[in-house]
Symmetry: D2
Subunit: 345 residues, 4 copies
Amino acid sequence: MLHFDTDYMEGAHPKVMQRLVETNLEQTTGYGSDDYCKTAKDLVRKTCGDESLDVHFLVGGTQTNSTVIDALLHHHEGVLAAETAHINVHESGAIESCGHKVLTLPSYEGKVCPDDVQAYIDNFYADETYEHMVAPGMLYISFPTEYGTLYSKKELRELHDICLEAKIPMFVDGARLGYGLMSDACDITLPELAQLCDIFYIGGTKVGLLFGECVVARKGLLQHFFPLIKQHGALLAKGRLLGVQFGTLFTDDLYFKIARHAIEMAMKLKAGFVQAGYQLFLDSPTNQQFFVLPNEVMDRLAEFCSFEIWGTRGETKTTVRFVTSWATTEDAVNKLLENVGASSL
Amino acid sequence: MLHFDTDYMEGAHPKVMQRLVETNLEQTTGYGSDDYCKTAKDLVRKTCGDESLDVHFLVGGTQTNSTVIDALLHHHEGVLAAETAHINVHESGAIESCGHKVLTLPSYEGKVCPDDVQAYIDNFYADETYEHMVAPGMLYISFPTEYGTLYSKKELRELHDICLEAKIPMFVDGARLGYGLMSDACDITLPELAQLCDIFYIGGTKVGLLFGECVVARKGLLQHFFPLIKQHGALLAKGRLLGVQFGTLFTDDLYFKIARHAIEMAMKLKAGFVQAGYQLFLDSPTNQQFFVLPNEVMDRLAEFCSFEIWGTRGETKTTVRFVTSWATTEDAVNKLLENVGASSL
Amino acid sequence: MLHFDTDYMEGAHPKVMQRLVETNLEQTTGYGSDDYCKTAKDLVRKTCGDESLDVHFLVGGTQTNSTVIDALLHHHEGVLAAETAHINVHESGAIESCGHKVLTLPSYEGKVCPDDVQAYIDNFYADETYEHMVAPGMLYISFPTEYGTLYSKKELRELHDICLEAKIPMFVDGARLGYGLMSDACDITLPELAQLCDIFYIGGTKVGLLFGECVVARKGLLQHFFPLIKQHGALLAKGRLLGVQFGTLFTDDLYFKIARHAIEMAMKLKAGFVQAGYQLFLDSPTNQQFFVLPNEVMDRLAEFCSFEIWGTRGETKTTVRFVTSWATTEDAVNKLLENVGASSL
Amino acid sequence: MLHFDTDYMEGAHPKVMQRLVETNLEQTTGYGSDDYCKTAKDLVRKTCGDESLDVHFLVGGTQTNSTVIDALLHHHEGVLAAETAHINVHESGAIESCGHKVLTLPSYEGKVCPDDVQAYIDNFYADETYEHMVAPGMLYISFPTEYGTLYSKKELRELHDICLEAKIPMFVDGARLGYGLMSDACDITLPELAQLCDIFYIGGTKVGLLFGECVVARKGLLQHFFPLIKQHGALLAKGRLLGVQFGTLFTDDLYFKIARHAIEMAMKLKAGFVQAGYQLFLDSPTNQQFFVLPNEVMDRLAEFCSFEIWGTRGETKTTVRFVTSWATTEDAVNKLLENVGASSL
């Protein structure tokens, strides 16, 4: 059986695992006050090219989204996001459980459009009854999006300019950030991203770690964040596990190298599917690939390969998602393509 | 200056006011434990034709919506509502501030469509990832809607059947209920409404009272509701004010009579506007009337009459709302129509 | 039957009621945007001797406490209060339902001690683990307290100095403020109170109004308070009802005069009880009077007079509360004392 | 430098680490749906001697407390706990941030007294105003407590009987459960504990794992717990990490063996300190040991050994905590005692 369900099916990259083993019996203080965290934060700042950035480590993505958004919003504010945003669809209402509304914008293959953001803000304040409505208090986007798509540098700059003008922070969910940055379609670097938004996170869970998300914020943006992390149940007792992992990930460009591998596997997979006559749902440049498959093809594939049905099964055709990761082997992709190619309809 | 901004511009109906004055110096216990509340609740049950109903008095509409919805939803659930629903747009995020997500459905002149509700529920449970999503835990509709429109008995029955099948309560926001029931287009009675949903409220603020909303619920649906009302800051110390007011409103059909008057005034206003060549935004059968006016007409009207801009001012045309109420005088409507008619473009 | 249960058993002072009747059919805009509210706010500012103060009207006490406290606290902060504070005991967890912890201090007849406040703050920051604890983010006191007691000017100044030093706001719950200010034991005026704290409210529900609490805050302290009031379900549609009522209350010193009457009645009642040999639970200088009664005396009194059992019935003796108000008649007090005096044990 | 600050200074037990390495590159589905979790849950059920129990894995202690308590309480209810309880003191208000009040009981060396629990419940319902108060909705205790103390089987049974009678669940925080069960002073087994409460958790973070807490609940007690875990940000993407770890911990009694080691080290440490003339703060039978040290002794010890100041530094004496764990070496304890013994005052 081949598995392309998602990018968190394995444990950690062997180098990360090795460091966890090597440091396992060392004694450190808790909650991220250890030297491994300190070193890792310095590495992240250095890799981001800005020594002034604030860096925090959390455990998982939903947790990071809800803690960061809770930290940034005032009571009367909500978070602007695409209607397909992870925070709006797949986090069991975590944002609302913290008291905040997700203000939805149209989604274009997972992306929001700068004009829509501007119009939302303009219309809000032009409405005589706006004080009875939830104010747009921040912008959330994901990079790559839940559909594997990417914003261009120009789009990011436009979005950020709108946010700066409106004096609201722009937050980038980078659960799959590495897979975005290493895409051939990406025209920004990590240091550029750090200047094109106010706060973002570098996802570790899906890019080489057992778990771990690294929040990077403009200095001073996050006030009293430590107790808030604790309050959200997001403070890891053995915080050094995050320091050791991220420290390894940002040594010798490991993060970028393994992310690049996933992209290469994804492009090979996409090319093979297209060659075999399969229909793209959309043309994703990152590690998530979406196809619209006749149900009989899908059912046949499911006999030797696992993947995710995207939404619900259609009457005759169904959209599916195949995902590669740092751990995807070329052998697995080859086997998949051999079997796919042999049996197109 | 004539005022058609909304239906809560005056105080209470004179008969209500008179009873408040008459009872003013009587001494009663607080928090709704007095005899006026008991009597009024009995009157409401009787008028609704079902002695088994639970009745509670609260102060305002947003308060009632957030308290009721908070009472009915489990943690993992949200409330289905039209995207134009008052709870989704004009309550400053009150529902979310209690931890709950508003799950939006397409709005058809303020109404939800039974097929959309059914599809939402079906698709939810057909999605493999549904446990990561907010479950549809109740249905909220308004009657009349925020656009003045009404559900037919058939539509209400379809919606309720879907809810019964899905084992989720159906809640009807009746902030303007009287203006719905007394419309010529309405094909249900109050006792019928009480059986066509699980919980609703009879709005007093907009129909004759100083303030007050009367929640009517299927017996046993609301558990531990008293402390929840208190917790929401919705428990009036001098609860008897609600008992006295609703007791008067449901004596000698006062509620229905004064609501009927508002409908007659609204129909006259609509007819006059249409006759004068104005364009309907939609054809509302209740006390809220919507027109699309050229901006120059709107500006001229604004010189002698107040009304509400619906959303934001358009570039050349703007949608506006004119509202009548129990207190609208025929004289005011006549004066409005005289001036409207004299100056059509 | 005589009633001394509490101070919200009647409606409004006749002058207040009269103004509500007189203005009943006037048309105003909603939500406090009317001229009655504007005028009343000016009157409050003038009576408080500080034109720079921010003034807001809300409906009830629990609602006001939870809305104000929610507005003032950051996520990692809680509110310091006596363990007997209304917010800690009798508000059904309203503060916690908004996400905030009540940090309790010892209660001395309802009052907190400045030394305890200082010690709490000092110990908090001296604790190595303080970032895992809820920070003292504001101080809540009541004036008079739930036990009818009063802070001296010196105590208030000490408390405020501690708060200023710690950079946290001091909030005074004035649900019964008039009954405090008009006590012979009170050594502050309303303008002095306004400078001895950062925010307080003038309770109307218990001092002459149908309902209504008037929040008075240091300029700029409350940010974006209007949508927060709405979100809390605390925004009255017919806001002018609050303007009309408070406007009347602060015309010709009505508030102070009627509060003074209640104090005189309370002092007469206390003197009579003491003369009849009853035991004071504590020596309250305001309108709430507490006695420890043998159960047989209590049961006998209950035959012709209602009052409140304070907590739970004791085995042989029980603490009870008798409350006077602006509406208490001298006749009622006389009758009570006649019957009390005739049957001491 | 020797370290006795706490019991989470190292990584995982080597056997646990080994299994994580061995399984690292296996592919599994996420969120705990894998076979490792299934197997581990079966092992836990078997070790608890009750196949009907519900088992869930979460990441950390504060997270587990807030998620479980949020799942169990109704809106009008709070959680009874000792005033020294971890949830009341050291979780940054996590319980309140979910909307719930901690109802505090006197603490006797960290324990609550059954009589106090009974009295709280009785007094609550005997109070005429109880519907304005937060109802006792569950009981939280810790085993061992934050002071290292243990409840006897008799005490647990009394507490549970009170809860059963009051129809509220009893929840045992077992962050250090192994260190309680393996104490010489403990008179219950794990299967007995499972029957002496309604829900508890087996702490892994402090007893051999990298992280992980295992919630064990009476069947059917936790409804819709999966989406609630997700909503709380407590759902680990690579859930199998918890399955692998707990599976190892409950194979060949590893959990009990390593916990026993910590107890032996703690008893040796305590005996050595007592012999050296140090004063016990209280006589703890588990892995946390508390001493009251003259400040000069404390400062001297701090030169070669780290430990925790318990609360704040006193003027002349300070309470300190020394903690052993599964990872504490006998060599470290010997070195500590050599240096302690050589320099008593």
